[in-house]
Symmetry: C2
Subunit: 356 residues, 2 copies
């Protein structure tokens, strides 16, 4: 079959370690399913700041733009936390989202059987929780004009939150489509009782809704959603919301599953191109020790196979392999109840490759 | 002692029922402690829309401005939800906050012993949770310029988030002072890696911090805070944040205690003036049935006594009376495990008055 080009951005901290295992898995699927991948590596984040003086070098962007998909490890760390804005890893993250037109961030929050007890929520509340947050990723207060000025009450800072109907329509349609393939329930989250952008958001959702008559739609205010996620997490199917609310709610949803070390995410644009990454961060405290959990990154590959390449067979195989390895009792340190039996990053990767 | 004027805004739904019990409690403290209160009632919210054509009539504002404190029941309901902006209860709420200069919203999130099991969090995680969210209430994206305009990509909506140093300083100082009287830990929540207002916020917090050397300060990003509240709620003492983040996080914090029907809140300005209200809403579904729980409103009176009047004795007495009544096993329907034994709103008020 056709060669797929994958841009690999290992990034900082545990990024390179977990990405190495994901690549092993992809190579195994070449053997098993006859797929062909070409990997091109790019510098990004803290390491790019150190080596190239910018978190998002043009050549990295070029590599991504010439690829069919991007696999990202993790970026950031205390080393760069006090840098000026242009020299911070997150500036690279915002830059790559905008440059690649990745307007939609898909964050599944599911509970892994073996991690049921890791959640701080009661098991009976968590039971059946399986939701997806669809977050708008290239608009809103993240990308609006920001500046300082002198006012009557001293220095003033301003952030501008802007949304146009086109931006709202495309993310909302995508969320409706995701919902159609699942339990057909969509919660649109806004703050329409206060914000003008939220009122335009809600009007747009209501205008589009009749095109998806099979999807049950509810509007939830963001403050109420933060509560309902805690009270009835399993009642949500797909949640769609704007950038800032999505940042907060997707992290809340991830944490309540107790499975944050295992969750994957996709950032999509028009067409099939996408950037895939684990939800967890660069974990500088355990970097370089070979003990990081590669599962979230490996599951991000499954998501890439499904959403960008349509390789449903390989995606399912990866997910099944992960499940088998976990069911057999193998654990990295972060998810082990008996830490003395924990295995390392490569051992976990090897087991998943073997289970494929 | 001096007569204190209290503006009473019963509002909508269960508001009038719960406020009536709070007034009974205040009257009892007149007898017991020799305090003197003068109550003046004002229309506000939905009922004011119906009777006066505006959610915040000028005469209600006058009553508040001529009072030492305001007791608010609850506002809103489905009846007014589809009104235009000027005819919505929440517009009155935003208006009264701004008009009375109530820049600080104090929301204690504590766990009531009798409601430990009502939380969706595991009891061992919840153990010892006792935090206060100090939310900025008259600035930020709530009050910045909002408008629509035609853009290249169709209609556009804009919200503006503005903060000046003076606004940030006063709320942050207040939070430091609240922390000094408690466990001396302050978490300042922002999104300084993205927002200019958050960067000004963080700089201001850091500039002020040396004045409170006994308070341990941490900066937490809002998305991380949404997670940490779930993972380690008992590790927080005081959380200070801007208006929009405070709206979301205070609701999340309230919900995780499982005690949302029992939580009180204060909105303060310069000086001792304050507006006090239960955290719960107007609960239109049970309004008029005499079954609402008046405890959150009664505890809001205790907060008023403590924060506005300095009546520590009466505040403590009210809190002790509530505890005694609960310890004796009395419950309204919302907090009863055996619903058949639940008592009504007035019965609960009477028991608390008797326990005083
Ligand atoms: C690092 C930060 C800029 C970023 C965001 O807020 O989008 C992160 O929190 C995320 O969710 O990917
Ligand atoms: C009703 C709404 C405008 C209000 C707010 O967002 O401030 C409410 O959610 C609150 O927290 O008091």
């Amino acid at each position: 079959s056709e060669v797929k080009k994958i841009a690999v951005i290992a990034g900082d901290g545990i990024g390179p370690e977990v990405v190495a295992e994901a690549i092993k898995v992809m190579k195994k699927t070449e053997e098993l399913f006859g797929y062909k991948f070409e990997f091109e590596h790019g510098l990004f984040g803290g390491i790019a700041i150190d080596e190239k003086g910018t978190p998002l070098p043009q050549e990295t962007l070029d590599i991504c733009q010439n690829s069919d998909a991007v696999l990202l490890g993790a970026v950031g760390g205390p080393k760069w936390d006090n840098n000026s804005k242009e020299l911070r890893p997150e500036t690279g993250l915002l830059g790559i989202r905008k440059a690649l037109g990745l307007f939609s961030n898909i964050r599944p929050a599911v509970v892994f059987d073996c991690l049921k007890d890791a959640s701080t929520l009661k098991p009976e509340v968590l039971e059946g929780t399986d939701l997806i947050v669809v977050r708008e990723l290239t608009g809103g207060i993240y990308f609006g004009e920001k500046f300082r000025r002198d006012g009557e009450q001293g220095q003033e800072a301003v952030d501008t939150c802007v949304y146009n109907v086109t931006e709202i329509e495309r993310i909302v349609r995508q969320a409706f489509e995701v919902a159609q393939k699942r339990s057909k329930r969509l919660a649109s989250v806004d703050k329409a009782n206060v914000l003008e952008t939220s009122r335009l958001w809600r009007e747009t959702v209501n205008r589009i809704a009749p095109e998806y008559p099979d999807v049950e739609l509810e509007h939830v205010l963001v403050d109420n959603c933060a509560m309902q996620l805690l009270r009835r997490p399993s009642s949500f199917d797909v949640i769609v919301t704007e950038n800032m609310f999505g940042d907060i709610l997707s992290d809340e949803a991830a944490m309540l599953t107790g499975s944050i070390g295992m969750l994957s995410s996709a950032s999509l644009g028009e067409g099939s191109f996408g950037l895939y990454e684990p939800v967890h961060g660069s974990a500088p405290d355990i970097a370089g020790q070979g003990i990081a959990n590669p599962i979230a990154t490996i599951l991000s590959v499954a998501l890439m196979f499904r959403l960008t390449f349509g390789y449903e067979d390989a995606a399912n195989a990866i997910e099944a392999a992960v499940k088998n390895v976990l069911d057999a009792g193998h654990r990295t340190g972060d998810i082990a109840t008996d830490k003395s039996k924990a295995i390392g990053t490569t051992a976990m990767g090897d087991l998943i490759v073997a289970a494929l």
